[in-house]
């Protein structure tokens, strides 16, 4: 087995008849920040829990740095896990909270204090050292929880929705912290719904829907799978406009406008600029009221939506 940080082989998890994760094959290189994307119920949390050794796969295997994970303790030594929903112990001070997890990981007494101090410094909570954890703000608790996952200096960090519930300032701070951790050589898996933030910090991505991995790779790799598109805003006579657009050269598919944007027609288009200009000219000649006409960008969000929608459409067939 090559030295990948994380590798899953046909990983499958069923809850009764429901398949939460379906033959997942992940390959994540050491030192990368892997953005795990997917709508609610896609199987991201189930996957992360299996990677952390907290959940038994129904079948398939998990390898962390080449080591087959069969026990929670094997994973615990390699992985730092931050769940999506977490609580804190009341009546414990911030340093005691980290000290507790350091003890749980068997860190020697001589090393414990410096570990706790170092982590408080890293997550910028040194000033709150003696505060009670229940009195910290949500953002601070989030950082403390991240610190707890780092207490035994794991090679891999599994962060389930670490930015949920954070205000914009706290998100920026978290992003900086993740960059620092990447520089420290950690491999990080990050699940999130905030796609544009993942785009900034992740080196690789995996997109999941309904338990299946739809795509994985760098943003560039994923962009190659993206189909170019046009967005055309027509103020009136939508039916005629869609018929006309569908008959033009370079148009692959005309999508029905979404309910929230009833005048916006999305067009899958692989034509060149000449063909795009001709399309606009023909719409103008037909005296259709065009308010907007532009090529869509290659954002992660669009790619994500495209892949997920394709998957859903395919399943419905």
């Amino acid at each position: 087995m090559s030295e990948l940080a994380i590798q899953t082989v046909d990983l499958l998890r069923r809850y009764g008849k429901y398949t939460a994760v379906n033959n997942l094959n992940l390959s994540i290189t050491p030192g990368s920040i892997f953005g795990f994307l997917g709508p609610n119920g896609a199987g991201k949390t189930t996957t992360l829990r299996m990677l952390a050794g907290l959940l038994e796969p129904s079948s398939g295997q998990v390898f962390l740095h080449g080591q087959l994970i069969q026990k929670t303790s094997t994973a615990a030594a390699i992985v730092g896990y931050m769940p999506d929903f977490f609580g804190v112990y009341d009546d414990l001070r911030v340093w005691e909270y980290l000290d507790f997890y350091a003890r749980c990981h068997g860190i020697e007494p001589a090393k414990r204090k410096s570990t706790v101090d170092g982590l408080l410094d890293l997550v910028d909570l040194s000033e709150k050292r003696n505060a009670f954890v229940q009195h910290l703000s949500r953002g601070m608790q989030q950082r403390l929880c991240l610190a707890h996952a780092l207490v035994h200096d794991p090679k891999i960090l599994l962060l389930d929705e670490p930015a949920s519930g954070l205000d914009p300032q706290a998100r920026v701070e978290l992003r900086e912290l993740l960059r620092t951790l990447r520089d420290m050589g950690k491999t990080i898996i990050l699940s999130s719904h905030i796609l544009n933030e993942l785009e900034d910090i992740c080196t690789n991505f995996g997109i999941m829907a309904r338990g299946q991995l739809l795509a994985q790779g760098s943003l560039e790799t994923l962009r190659q799978r993206s189909r170019p598109a046009l967005q055309i805003k027509v103020l009136d006579d939508l039916e005629r406009a869609m018929r006309l657009i569908g008959a033009q050269a370079g148009v692959l598919r005309v999508l029905e406008p979404a309910e929230e944007t009833p005048n916006l027609i999305e067009v899958e288009f692989d034509g060149n600029e000449q063909q795009a200009a001709q399309l606009l000219l023909n719409l103008a000649r037909a005296e259709l009221p065009i308010a907007d006409f532009h090529r869509e960008d290659d954002s992660l969000e669009r790619l994500f939506l495209q892949l997920v929608n394709d998957h859903v459409t395919e399943e419905q067939r």
Binding site: L54, A75, A77, P83, F100, R103
Partner: protein
């Protein structure tokens, strides 16, 4: 750091759960308020027992100091037994379930801490608080030594029964907490089981005595810590107005096995506190012989407490074993070599102990 190296390292360190629980539990006023209430309650009960034991004196009847000591000791021992049996699950029913409820469980089991250390930590931290209650009760309990009438053997027997009942009760709470995953549900399960064990078996013994002249079967007495404590205290002093046997002091006063209440100088008083007759039901087997005063001779109280200790130890181990598997994140109910080893060592030890001392047959 390998798992084995980590295990070696923290094996020499205090249990993290105990450190955390002690740090957080003793903060705030709740623990101290419970301790104060506990001691006040115990003190009031002690004072009530003292008044009750000395009421005869107001009517001109002679009261032996030892009699007061015995009544106080037995009354306080029962009170302590009830309190620890009721308080122990209250401390432990949230041991595992509250971790799940406040969403800290996954973070905890994702560490290198093995399941058995997690459970030990929870048990020891709960018991340390109960031990604090018991230690705090010692000055109050030691008042009985001023009156006399009790032996060190009785103190040790009562202490062993109370402490083992507390451990079992705490373990029951942890088991319910691990199995149900909800603190409320765990509390209901624990207290229903405690109610059935304490009340159910006494009720069964009561029905038996009403319907049969045969001695109450050991199976109805031994599982109940109340009957166990009564069987131990029964040898301390005996007869009250309803006529029950005596061993310790009556022997010193010229009595012996096969005693009859009429010749007992304490017979008009003895252990006299509310509930004693109920608690000691089935403990004194009535013989078909009669003493010179025409009263039936009552045999020595049955030593069911020995079997009770074995039952409590086995119950503790069973609860621990089930809780140990229930807290595992993976392969919960798959038997391990550790299970097999524990089962073998426990069975052999108990069998050996039982046969060697002859406890099974007494």
């Amino acid at each position: 750091m390998s798992n084995r190296a980590a295990s070696r390292r923290w094996r020499l360190q205090p249990n993290p759960i105990v450190v955390k629980e002690l740090r957080s539990r003793m903060r705030g006023g709740r623990a101290f308020m419970l301790l104060t209430g506990f001691l006040l309650g115990l003190g009031l009960v002690g004072y009530g027992l003292f008044l009750r034991a000395t009421t005869g004196q107001n009517n001109g009847a002679p009261i032996f100091s030892a009699q007061v000591g015995q009544t106080l000791f037995a009354g306080l021992a029962f009170m302590l037994l009830f309190l620890v049996i009721l308080i122990a699950p209250a401390v432990t029913v949230g041991a595992i379930s509250s971790e799940r409820e406040r969403l800290t469980y996954e973070m905890l089991i994702a560490t290198n801490l093995p399941s058995h250390r997690l459970l030990w930590g929870k048990l020891i931290s709960a018991l340390s608080y109960i031990a604090l209650l018991l230690l705090a009760a010692i000055p109050l309990g030691s008042i009985v030594f001023l009156f006399g009438g009790i032996t060190v053997r009785h103190v040790i027997q009562a202490a062993v029964i109370i402490v083992l009942s507390a451990i079992t009760s705490a373990m029951l709470g942890i088991w319910a907490s691990a199995m149900t995953g909800k603190t409320g549900r765990a509390a209901v399960v624990s207290y229903v089981i405690i109610g059935l064990v304490l009340g159910g078996f006494l009720f069964g013994a009561e029905i038996w005595t009403n319907r049969s002249t045969d001695p109450v079967p050991t199976g109805l007495l031994a599982p109940n810590p109340i009957s166990a404590l009564a069987s131990s205290l029964g040898t301390l002093s005996g007869p009250n107005s309803s006529g029950m046997a005596f061993e310790g002091i009556p022997r010193a006063a010229g009595g012996g096995p096969g005693w009859w209440p009429g010749s007992n100088p304490f017979s008009n008083a003895g252990l006299d506190f509310p509930g004693w007759q109920t608690f000691s039901i089935g403990i004194y087997p009535v013989t078909d012989q009669f003493g010179p005063d025409g009263m039936p001779i009552i045999a020595e109280p049955r030593s069911v407490w020995r079997i009770t200790l074995i039952i409590l130890i086995m119950a503790c181990l069973a609860f621990f074993w089930m809780a140990l598997h229930a807290v595992k994140p993976r392969r919960r109910w798959m038997p391990t070599w550790g299970d097999a080893a524990m089962l073998s060592v426990t069975s052999l030890s108990l069998l050996g102990l039982g046969f060697w001392i002859g406890w099974w047959f007494r």
